[in-house]
């Protein structure tokens, strides 16, 4: 663990990607080829997993900020107020832990913990049912750790390891460490998604043997976003599907066990018990791996918006009431393997045919086939104005024509309550982990609003110390005057340089401070794009935006020229009319909680460190 911690510390202070790769590669090579380590393969596996921020290959260990804080207090002797203040200053509790640990007598002379110790402790943590048990395992681990090890172990546990050890870097480091061609490492990585296993294969020169196995997820094939078609595509070669507003997932059935993997390839089986149960019961005696989307469904099997699905996300073992209130279906759209046979190289048309057979055989509402239409058919019937003009669709439609008809198809998909369209090439293999030209998603921002910044907060990590989070408002008529009412908050969309500039401007506009937030004089106008609107009590305007992101800073507009609530209401009415959003109020989500959030990515919700109770 010492070697790995040092390597991670080096990746931190090496800005260049190449330096990071070298630092990690050196550590992987040393660990993987250590002749004194009886289980060097095992150590390597753990080291690589830790470097990617993964705790274990499968199960989460269930250690959050408050438990970690207890451990830090016990290990360093400082009280919770000190630990919180230090975490705030560092922007990272794990880093504060490492720094405070440097003051613990003798800590810098400890021999440290081995990678196998770490792996064993993490397994024990995953199994431990009570907080007290988890606490004991953590105490034992950290009591032997050096300050630097403590910092990086805590980072892994808290999910704050962002030393740039991104997957691409790790793959490059693996290739470099064991002198394997990068292309082979990358290819193998899409099939063997456990980076630890990948490293061992690379070390042993067995990358060619990498193959998908049912029960272990493969990297999802991704669609390239397009607004509309820009190049000629031959409509006959393509099919079109609705783009669902749910959580991308893989459903595997292997050895009678059904496993659901979410977008980040983490296991979420217990979160969606009805889907897993249906697969296991209806698919008895078979094996398969299906790619698809988890979607909340309402009356008449109508899809419900993502907001509804959120009631189910991040919850282990939902109650019967939750299951009944928010039923979920797995919408199957691709088949990766069936009955022991790997289908990744098969053309989409063949995979779809086999998938249709499978879903027919399963015959249950929890696992449904996603309707798919040849692009030619999709273009016409959905655009009634065109039916007279073109009696026979011809394969040689020009770009503008396809684009125009796609607009109609897109509107129809929106009307069915979906996000947009996905175009897929019939003859393409399943390109695991790739965002290529075989799948194209037609997705458009719902609308944009010009809003005024009313408050700003500092960000975290890289964005600590600069004002990167903005609360913004629109105008509302109040008698004969107008007032600004908040409508949302955005965290991203600006470059570092723009954020520096905004920090200066917002600082000058600061009217007062409330906790971590600065109230600012409302002068700066932003154009904000978003994917939908919902009613919300969180903001004074009565609305909240979905996925708000900053498109640009409207230096050309004054605050007075920003949009008003009436505009927001019109937009809301238009989407309710299309059945795209549900009328009614979305539940406010908790802050500062870890868990699966938007689109299944495991992230820590933005919230100040030290706010954890």
């Amino acid at each position: 663990m010492i070697r790995l911690s040092r390597a991670l510390e080096r990746t931190k202070s090496s800005r260049g990607r190449l330096d990071k790769e070298r630092a990690l590669a050196d550590a992987f090579a040393l660990i993987g080829r250590d002749s004194l380590d009886e289980d060097s393969a095992g150590s390597l596996r753990v080291a690589v997993r830790l470097a990617t921020g993964a705790v274990t290959a499968s199960a989460p260990i269930g250690v959050g900020f408050s438990l970690m804080q207890e451990v830090i207090i016990a290990e360093t002797g400082w009280d919770s107020e000190v630990v919180r203040a230090c975490s705030r200053t560092c922007g990272d509790m794990a880093e504060a832990f490492g720094l405070l640990m440097q003051r613990v007598r003798g800590a810098d002379r400890r021999s440290g913990v081995s990678l196998s110790d770490v792996a064993r402790t993490f397994e024990l943590l995953a199994q431990a049912s009570s907080r007290a048990h988890k606490r004991r395992h953590l105490d034992e681990l950290f009591h032997r750790a050096t300050p630097l090890e403590a910092k990086y172990l805590a980072k892994v546990i808290l999910g704050s390891l962002r030393t740039g050890a991104l997957e691409g870097v790790v793959e490059n480091a693996i290739a470099r460490a064991f002198a394997q061609p990068l292309e082979e490492v990358r290819r193998a990585a899409t099939l063997v998604t456990d980076p630890g296993e990948l490293a061992v294969l690379a070390r042993d020169g067995r990358l060619a043997e990498a193959s998908m196995s049912i029960g272990a997820p493969v990297a999802f094939m991704l669609a390239t976003p397009i607004e509309t078609v820009a190049t000629t595509l031959s409509p006959a070669q393509w099919t079109v599907e609705d783009k669902y507003d749910g959580v991308r997932a893989q459903l595997h059935l292997h050895d009678g066990e059904a496993i659901v993997f979410a977008r980040g390839l983490e296991r979420v089986t217990e979160t969606f018990p009805e889907v897993a149960r249906a697969a296991a019961e209806r698919g008895r005696g078979r094996t398969f791996a299906i790619d698809g989307e988890l979607l909340a469904v309402g009356e008449g099997d109508k899809p419900r918006p993502f907001m509804a699905l959120q009631q189910r996300l991040g919850r282990k073992a939902p109650t019967a009431a939750t299951l009944a209130a928010t039923p979920v279906a797995f919408i199957a759209y691709d088949l990766l393997a069936i009955d022991g046979k790997i289908l990744l190289e098969f053309p989409l048309a063949d995979r779809r045919a086999l998938l249709a057979e499978l879903t027919d055989a399963l015959d249950c509402p929890e696992i449904r086939l996603s309707p798919s239409t040849p692009l030619l058919d999709a273009l016409d019937p959905l655009d009634p104005l065109e039916t007279d003009a073109l009696s026979e669709p011809t394969p040689e439609l020009d770009v503008a024509e396809v684009a125009r008809r796609l607009d109609g198809a897109f509107a129809a998909a929106r009307g069915r309550g979906h996000e947009g369209l996905v175009l897929k090439r019939n003859d393409a293999p399943y390109e695991a982990g790739r965002r290529g030209q075989s799948w194209l998603k037609v997705k458009r921002a719902f609308a944009t609003l010009d809003v005024v910044i009313t408050a700003a907060e500092e960000g975290h990590g890289r964005r600590a110390g600069v004002l990167s989070d903005y609360t913004f408002a629109v105008w509302r008529d109040e008698g004969d005057a107008r007032a600004l009412v908040n409508v949302g908050k955005a965290y991203s969309g600006l470059t570092d340089v723009e954020i520096d500039d905004m920090t200066r401007r917002l600082t000058a506009l600061t009217l007062g401070r409330y906790g971590g937030a600065r109230l600012v004089r409302p002068e700066i106008v932003l154009e904000v794009a978003f994917d939908g609107l919902q009613r919300s009590k969180r903001h004074k305007s009565g609305f909240a935006l979905r996925f708000p992101r900053i498109v640009r800073i409207r230096t050309d507009k004054t605050a007075e020229q920003a949009d008003d609530v009436a505009t927001v209401e019109k937009l809301f009415a238009s989407q309710v009319g299309a059945g795209h959003r549900e009328e009614g109020e979305a539940k406010t989500r908790g802050r500062g909680r870890r868990g699966m959030t938007e689109k299944g990515e495991t992230t820590r919700q933005l919230g100040l460190f030290g706010e954890e109770k």
Binding site: K12, S13, W78, V82, C90, L99, R462, T510
Partner: protein, 353 residues
């Protein structure tokens, strides 16, 4: 002399001693002030009458040009100034070195009721470019706690300077350009001195060079007059590529001058450099926690060594917390003085002044 008369007030202009009508490092123009050292955030206000060390006054003049409207009132290091209090008693003002930077002084006020010390920006110890800061026994102390959290623990200054020089040397040997991000006044001169003493060529940003010249005028030789310390912007394209250390203020970290320099390897030199986020923010390759301020342990040790029965603490993001920790560590009453700032400035990690 009553205790009330020697109370300290927090006014919008800055800390104020009503007994002798004296502001301490005010941020706004006032009639009479003591300025502890020449950093902009302390010497920003201007005043009718400015008490300060001769070096501080010289450095302020060098920073601002000669246009200052203030009346300088230097206090010699071995001298004193006497001021009358409203009750007719006399208070004697003298100076003691505060470490920190050249000219930085603690203000020692002896009055009938005891001794009051305003530490200004303080650090125990010194280096080749400035005098040694040491605790002054007193009854009441104002202590600046910029680094008043236990995560701030800096290695010894000698060790850090050795490490920085070694790092610069390694970078130059590797054909790279070591860039040291350091505050233009104080820190930069300490670094310039260490690098020059080790025989490394040094180029400086204009602001840094100007302050080096001011130090040199005060007797600290930094190679400005003899041309050893070069002005980076004046060099031609080829000379810029010659091996050497580039000394430049932290705010230039994302400036094209540095970002365009392909061979640049950037190190942040600041107490904040022990925090990863500070390095990230400057996109620095390395960090050295060389500070002109006291670290947590130095703060506690200093407060204890003065024997003060009351310690006022100022600065720092977690002032209330530090006051509690200090109060528990020493037997003194600790009072946090939260500044009533009119002009808010953003605290940018790594830009210590």
């Amino acid at each position: 002399m009553s205790a009330r008369e020697w109370a300290i007030e927090v006014r919008p202009e800055g800390l104020y001693l009503p007994a002798i009508e004296l502001f301490l490092d005010p941020a706004l123009p006032v009639a009479r002030a003591f300025v502890s050292h020449a950093h902009g955030d302390h010497a920003s206000g201007g005043a009718g009458e400015v008490f300060a060390s001769p070096e501080t006054l010289a450095l302020i003049a060098a920073r601002r040009g000669e246009s200052s409207a203030s009346t300088p009132a230097p206090i010699a290091w071995d001298g004193a100034v006497e001021l009358k209090t409203p009750s007719g008693a006399t208070a004697r003002l003298s100076l003691a070195p505060a470490g920190h930077i050249l000219g930085a002084a603690q203000l020692v006020i002896d009055h009938a009721g005891g001794r009051f010390v305003y530490g200004g920006d303080y650090r125990s110890g010194g280096d080749a470019t400035h005098a040694i800061g040491a605790p002054v026994p007193c009854d009441e102390l104002v202590l600046e706690a910029t680094y008043g959290l236990p995560i701030f623990r800096f290695p010894s200054r000698d060790l850090l300077l050795t490490q920085i020089v070694a790092w610069c040397g390694e970078r130059i040997d590797a054909g790279e350009t070591p860039v040291l991000l350091a505050y233009a006044l104080g820190k930069s001169q300490a670094l310039a001195h260490a690098c020059l003493a080790a025989g490394l060529p040094v180029r400086a940003h204009g602001a840094v060079r100007k302050m080096c010249a001011a130090y040199e005028a005060l007797g600290v030789s930094l190679g400005v007059a003899d041309g050893t310390l070069q002005h980076y912007a004046s060099l031609d394209a080829r000379a810029k590529k010659e091996p050497g250390v580039l000394l430049t203020p932290p705010w230039t970290a994302n400036h094209p001058m540095i970002r365009k320099l392909k061979s640049a390897r950037v190190a942040l030199v600041s107490g904040h450099a022990c925090i990863d986020a500070a390095l990230d923010q400057r996109r620095a390759d390395a960090g050295f926690a060389l500070s002109d301020h006291a670290d947590y342990d130095d703060l506690i040790a200093t407060a204890r060594a003065t024997g003060a029965r009351r310690v006022y603490v100022t600065h720092g993001e977690e002032l209330g917390l530090f006051a509690r920790l200090l109060g528990a560590a020493i037997s003194a009453e600790v009072v946090p003085l939260v500044a009533a700032k009119l002009v808010e400035s953003v605290t940018v990690a790594g830009e210590e002044a």
